[in-house]
């Protein structure tokens, strides 16, 4: 039976731990991918995602059921991942390969390969950015959240989010240009 997030939360609060698995299943993928882009490390991301769900479960009584569950858990995983990066400076190995099929392409193999290459390039440049810029870019572009949702997830004002994103894009451009220059030299 499919439950809404709020029903699942209610059942958890009533003592039915198993109801939480609905939420883990529903949000696990996005939570893991947010952690992955912030930590740049698959193992650390799995640990952070797991930790985020455990923290969410412990704090369920603080969750406001009138608000969507997604942004709440995104906020928890973002904090957990940023804390992890701060603690371990887990910044070394950029997340490597992209899966083979990038998107349903009506483009053709050449432009699809080119696009894939661009993605790899941008993602690895993104991995060099400071963690809070990576977090903002991940939430905004990879998870496609609105400015307000990003602000909620990061726990910072809307204006600061816009500034972060603006600076993150500028830093990304600089790094991409530097990489292109390196390759050209």
């Amino acid at each position: 039976m499919t439950r809404t997030d709020q029903e699942a939360v209610e059942r958890c609060l009533a003592g039915d731990t198993d109801a939480f698995s609905t939420l883990v299943e529903r949000y696990g993928g996005r939570v893991y991918n947010i952690a992955l882009r912030i930590t740049n490390d698959g193992d650390a991301a799995a640990d952070c995602a797991q930790e985020a769900f455990i923290r969410a479960y412990r704090a369920l009584h603080q969750y406001d059921p009138n608000l969507p569950f997604g942004p709440w858990i995104y906020r928890i995983v973002t904090n957990t991942s940023l804390n992890h990066v701060q603690r371990w400076h887990a910044h070394e190995s950029p997340v490597e390969e992209l899966p083979e099929s990038v998107e349903p392409d009506d483009e053709g193999p050449e432009s699809s390969a080119l696009r894939r290459e661009q993605m790899d390039e941008v993602l690895s440049a993104m991995a060099d950015l400071p963690a809070h810029y990576r977090a903002a870019l991940t939430l905004r572009h990879l998870q496609q959240l609105s400015y307000q949702e990003v602000a909620d997830a990061l726990g910072i004002p809307l204006g600061t989010v816009k500034t972060h994103l603006h600076r993150a894009r500028a830093a990304l451009k600089t790094r991409l240009a530097a990489r292109a220059k390196e390759r050209g030299a």
Partner: protein
């Protein structure tokens, strides 16, 4: 929200980057992720109960032992001294008297300690296994 290229508040300056990043396919969850989370959660509940039971067993018995030491502290000290004397003099017998309830209380404190040690061990184990 599902269409990668449509965000209502998308700024023209971020359109190109958004088109590119929104098309990045998500990485699949590690195999067994959900089970690992749920195993940890169930473990946590069990551990909570273990702490409660350990406390319920330990607290009254510890209080009783403290009272016993207060009331019969000299007897215990005497018994210990007798044992030490007997051990150092290599004699066969050492007279001491210990109240049966004290022994029972000590045994209960031991059981509570074992439960608490188990709870501590389980909760300090870092993470459930996620097959990667």
């Amino acid at each position: 929200m599902n269409d990668p290229f449509v965000l209502p508040d998308l700024d023209p300056a971020e359109r190109d980057l958004h088109r590119l990043l929104a098309a990045v396919p998500p990485r699949p969850l590690p195999f067994g992720f959900r089970d690992a989370v749920m195993t940890r959660l169930r473990g946590e509940r069990r551990v909570t109960w273990e702490w409660i039971v350990a406390a319920v067993i330990a607290i009254p018995n510890l209080l009783f032992l403290i009272r016993q030491i207060g009331v019969h502290g000299q007897d215990f000290a005497q018994a210990l001294a007798n044992i030490m004397t007997a051990a150092s003099a290599e004699t066969a017998g050492a007279f001491f008297f210990v109240d049966g309830l004290t022994v029972v209380a000590l045994a209960f404190v031991g059981i509570a300690s074992a439960l608490a040690a188990h709870a501590l061990f389980v909760s300090s184990t870092p993470r459930g296994t996620v097959v990667r």
